[in-house]
Symmetry: C2
Subunit: 218 residues, 2 copies
């Protein structure tokens, strides 16, 4: 199909399709004349994936290119490592990423990951994220201990397993794309629902007796 | 005590204490001469709270001032509403906040909140956050339904109750500060542990058989 049909069938405006081409997010078509190229179903699928990725808040174009590179070359990694590499390109990004080749060591995360019964990999970005999060918590005087860690594991382990269940019905390349989108796009859902639940808990436990004048708890 | 002792006892550098005073985060001391003021235990507690709040990624000074205003005036709100107002000042912030006085309507969040058995309040920021998150999910073609919503509720409801449990032993002003810090500082913990669990699930379910040449799953 021509580029105009590619735009129409995917519902993406033509200038946006051209932008994806220029940015190297979408592979060039097959030239059929000096001014025309031919595009196929693979281009439609890629545009759908790019469109889905644009829904991720805070994802720069350069990182999107990195994710698409992993999706394209997943069989160089193996599917599990490809999912890891693609998820690693998602925000949040460390303020001070260690220089390449540094021996990374995250002692707070190491201890927590041991308590959680998971395997410690300092090169996996979530390890550094956990380390920074624990440091901020404890600096603020909030509780962090193997007991607290276990509370988060109990809540999140069944969820993580259910979230990944659809992958068993996908081919490997789809699985990598799904892992990235699912990781990024259910995160804000989790945070919003948790805040709504906190409010509900606070209201239901009625921390103080209601004020008869206003009906508010005070 | 003098300002220098306030800095020493809290472990915060004197220029930082002066910055907190200038920014109106820390109330002025009681003047005892033209050049000296006297500070008390309340100032120490406030500096500890400010230090804890500085651990929250992406919290601007103006929002910190807003949170401290709610902590100071919690009894104008009642403790539950004060906790809600303080948490509402945390990131993430809407890209396009509706003008004040607008009738807010978030149909996706309204439907989800009904499915979750929670009460719908369009003025509570987590409602708008949930609405935007559901829109991004569905635009990207990911699954969202009452069944999926229930999965997140089952995982998060017991967690939310446990997270708020310590509040019953606090006075109301402490409770407001704790709600803000706990909401913000356990969020990155949740996201990092979820990503580590995903990787663990992917590895354990061994999506494809291992490649005998490399030992990697491929």
């Amino acid at each position: 199909m021509q580029i105009s049909e590619l735009a129409e069938t995917t519902g993406v405006p033509l200038p946006t399709v051209k932008f994806y081409l220029r940015e190297g997010l979408l592979p060039k078509g097959t030239p059929v004349s000096a001014t025309r190229s031919e595009y196929g179903n693979g281009h439609q699928d890629r545009i759908r994936l790019i469109t889905a990725l644009t829904a991720i808040p805070g994802l720069p174009i350069a990182r999107m290119r990195e994710i698409l590179g992993v999706v394209d070359n997943w069989d160089d990694y193996g599917v599990v490592d490809a999912m890891g590499a693609a998820v690693a390109a998602l925000p949040p990004y460390a303020d001070h990423p260690p220089p390449a080749g540094t021996d990374l060591e995250f002692p707070l995360a190491r201890e927590a990951i041991a308590a959680l019964g998971l395997s410690y990999d300092p090169a996996y970005p979530a390890t550094q994220q956990l380390d920074a999060a624990i440091r901020a918590l404890t600096q603020a005087g909030l509780d962090w201990s193997p007991t607290v860690a276990a509370r988060y594991r109990s809540a999140l382990a069944p969820l993580a397993a259910e979230e990944l269940a659809p992958i068993s019905g996908m081919d490997d390349q789809q699985a990598v794309g799904y892992a990235v989108l699912g990781t990024a796009l259910y995160e804000p859902i989790i945070l919003a629902i948790r805040r709504l639940l906190h409010r509900d808990v606070a209201e239901r436990t009625a921390l103080s007796p209601p004020d008869p004048a206003t009906g508010n708890t005070a």
